[in-house]
Symmetry: C2
Subunit: 227 residues, 2 copies
DNA sequence: CGGATCGTTGACAGGTATCAATGCTGGTGG
DNA sequence: CCACCAGCATTGATACCTGTCAACGATCCG
């Protein structure tokens, strides 16, 4: 965690209660009273582009909720190569493996400036033993992990490079309702899809030439009618 | 569930208490008393090769523990193609997504004759609200799903076909301590690795010629020193 | 302005899909 | 018991796709 910027900290769950993404997040089912059970601070951080939220080496003491931005979960191979195994968007949980007391399973790196809430494991355990309202959300989160992983596998590792890039663009487009979405670097696209940087670049360039894709800065729009 | 063979049914958890794979399974932390909470039968079935344990269409009422054999979880694509997204071996859970009351996420098909225990969702929910001993195992199961999915992604979708087949053989070899393991059909190997049946066949044949691999019936041995 | 990083493009070799034909094997019925 | 069949495995030929190595362009930032 190089240069994490702390934005806020508080003792109760007052802010959580009125959180703008609460309906997406872990605490959506909690009742007013449940928030009084929070005895450890939940902090909000901004992770700048390229910084790590956590790494595989870190002892896992916290679960994170993504409030805005995007996080990549990276698995490094022995040979120095790496593969991006998942992308996390607002409402997703990062590091739920912390609930098992183990270490984190990935390197979590910000693709954009990303706001997160850092929830101590003890808070979740305490809530779990004192209110029944969290359990369901946790189960749902685990299931989302499973189903995301499957979609990932099926959509992004099947077919030739062109199909995979197209599927990735559609997937990224789903992330954002504003019509444009963050386009990762060609190297990251390669790591996402298991192809080389050059192949990723060629295909993105081709899509731009054909008018399927417009890119400005790092933001992209696609013309879905042409897919 | 075409021709599922029922082997046993019982009311209490007597058999679970003395189950030979209990240390691998969901109930490993349960105490003697906890088993008295089981008020619905847990049945044991044998699923013959090729039969379905469940499909995506099925309402998810049960979680299954694999006692022996092997199950493939299959995700079908719209175009009729399919991809195997995970293999389940003894001790693994199938269909934990049932705990969310949803439908199953995959087709679960037996690759070998497979013994399973069928646990009603209600049993798990009841245990969860009456004893604290199950929660940890459930969390561990969810985490295993996540970590298996990542290993799968990293080991079996990276590199060229030869490397992937080699990794798959090593992965399958881990399944069985008896020195030999079940070798899937070439078509299934293709669906596991995202390559064509022909490519899978060519590489398996090459490994056999080179002496890396011996196959008898559907059982295989590998010479790890040559990998 | 200069350097660093990222993106694009070309040439070529090697890998993979595709289409097609042929071998192999286990199971079935005569 | 044997012949036959269906399904699976193997192999070949070819076109296409992708990785690799290399060069150059674009953009950002100090």
């Amino acid at each position: 965690m190089k240069s994490i910027t702390i934005k806020q900290a508080w003792d109760g769950g007052e802010k959580c209660l009125h959180c703008s993404i609460r309906n997406l997040a872990l605490f959506s089912d909690l009742q007013q009273d449940d928030f009084n059970l929070l005895h450890q601070p939940i902090n909000e951080y901004m992770i700048p582009v390229g910084d790590e939220l956590y790494t595989e080496k870190d002892k896992a003491h916290f679960v994170f909720t993504i409030r805005s931005g995007m996080i990549k979960l990276v698995h490094y191979l022995e040979n120095g190569n790496y593969r991006i195994v998942r992308l996390l968007r607002p409402g997703d949980l990062a590091g739920i493996e912390a609930l098992n007391g183990s270490r984190y399973l990935h390197h979590a790196i910000a693709l954009q400036n990303t706001d997160v809430c850092r929830i101590p494991v003890e808070v979740i355990e305490q809530l779990n033993s004192n209110t029944p309202h969290l359990y369901k959300q946790l189960t749902a989160s685990w299931q989302k992990v499973q189903s995301d992983a499957d979609v990932w596998l099926v959509e992004l590792t099947v077919g030739n490079s062109r199909q995979r890039v197209a599927n990735l663009l559609l997937y990224l487009d789903d992330f954002s309702e504003e019509g444009s979405f963050y386009l990762p670097t060609r190297e990251d696209i390669g790591a996402l899809l298991g192809i080389t940087t050059e192949t990723a670049s060629r295909i993105i360039a081709e899509f731009k030439r054909l008018g399927f894709l417009q890119v400005e800065r790092q933001m992209a729009k696609i013309d879905k009618s042409k897919f």
